[in-house]
Symmetry: C2
Subunit: 210 residues, 2 copies
DNA sequence: GTCTATAAATGGATAGAC
DNA sequence: GTCTATCCATTTATAGAC
């Protein structure tokens, strides 16, 4: 318990952020400051010394997650790859990255988004990234497909699944190829124009109450 | 505020669930019982009469969301479509469905998942669906691609985006076609086998501390 | 079936000792 | 730089009236 031993303030801060992440992952956003503090081997008072309020702690944690995510993408950028779609390819590869640090960045941020400030931050970050991707030089449809697929794979852990299966790996490889040969995608025909299905109104039926 | 007027218990229950959804969407999981109750034109005591605890209310709400999601997929099933991949196609179409009820089912469930019981429920449901999809008769890679893309599109609203752009619509149509002609996907070449890139270690670099 | 009033708990934040 | 003790606000949940 007396834990001043050989730990710099930065170490403690980091330990607190890590602990906050673990606590939230396992107990949800309701994890109390006391819990988080003990998890980091610090008292509640000690925590408050480093982060003025719970919201600040959570926001800082979210920021760290987003920065880490950015870094993962940056690390996946291939310096030799300068053609259109290079950022998109990095985004795609980042999905398969064994984060090492945390099992499910996206899932965690999602939990943190119950704090309004975090939601704002995350959306701003997403918009920024979207804009960069839009300027990456790919045809809109191919971009939409690739980004959707990448997002879907990243969110898999939240639902208990994994995006690191062999099938996913192969999908990523093919999608990467697609970004280099967008015309391959354009060559795939439409299923049938939206209003062309004879029967089956496709409109949403009542839906089960509510 | 005397609100017994012409409303059956079931009506009240439903109103409470709707109010809970709205409240959580706008104020996060911290929305208080009092808020939710007033939102439904009922007092806190009234709420507790219908749902014994907040957790029960939230769990019930999650259940309703999942049921609605199931129903949307069921409604998107084309009775005339009996070939392999029919469920997958319905899953895909469901993404574009203008839910009418709620703007972002996925986003809401995500917020509700801070309650452990909800997380369990949602994961069980996801596993069930995954199993059904796996038995839908498509090659694993095509299935993985389509499901990832669909999931990515559903989660877009949470990040402030939309999955109802023309590009997304076209992507869905092409993906549907792909489920009917899986060989089209198999014909797209790999980018290059994982360990084939001369330079650029592609391993994750340190990542920004943490 | 719903409301008011109140009890009981939880948890965030402060002040000051060490 | 961290801990203990305490205060205070919020919110869940209960009891009993209407």
């Amino acid at each position: 318990m007396g834990r001043t031993a050989g730990r710099s303030p930065e170490d403690t801060r980091r330990a607190l952020l890590t602990a906050a992440g673990d606590a939230v992952r396992s107990r949800g956003i309701h994890a109390s400051l006391d819990e988080i503090a003990r998890f980091a081997g610090v008292s509640k008072g000690g925590l408050i010394y480093h982060f003025a309020s719970k919201d600040e702690l959570i926001l800082e944690l979210a920021r760290a997650q987003l920065v880490a995510f950015e870094a993962t993408i940056a690390a996946a950028l291939d310096p030799a790859d300068t053609g259109p779609g290079r950022l998109t390819r990095a985004y795609l590869r980042a999905v398969l990255t064994p984060d090492g640090d945390d099992m499910a960045s996206m899932a965690l941020i999602t939990l943190l988004m119950t704090v309004p400030a975090v939601a704002e931050l995350a959306r701003a970050e997403a918009a920024r990234l979207d804009a960069e991707l839009a300027a990456d030089g790919l045809p809109p449809d191919v971009l939409a497909l690739v980004v959707a697929a990448a997002d879907g794979m990243s969110s898999a852990p939240m639902w208990g699944g994994s995006a690191r299966t062999p099938a996913h790996r192969r999908v990523v490889e093919r999608l990467i190829h697609l970004t280099r040969r967008p015309e391959l995608w354009e060559e795939i025909p439409w299923s049938t124009a939206p209003p062309a299905d004879p029967r089956a109104p496709r409109t949403v039926s009542p839906g089960p109450r509510r």
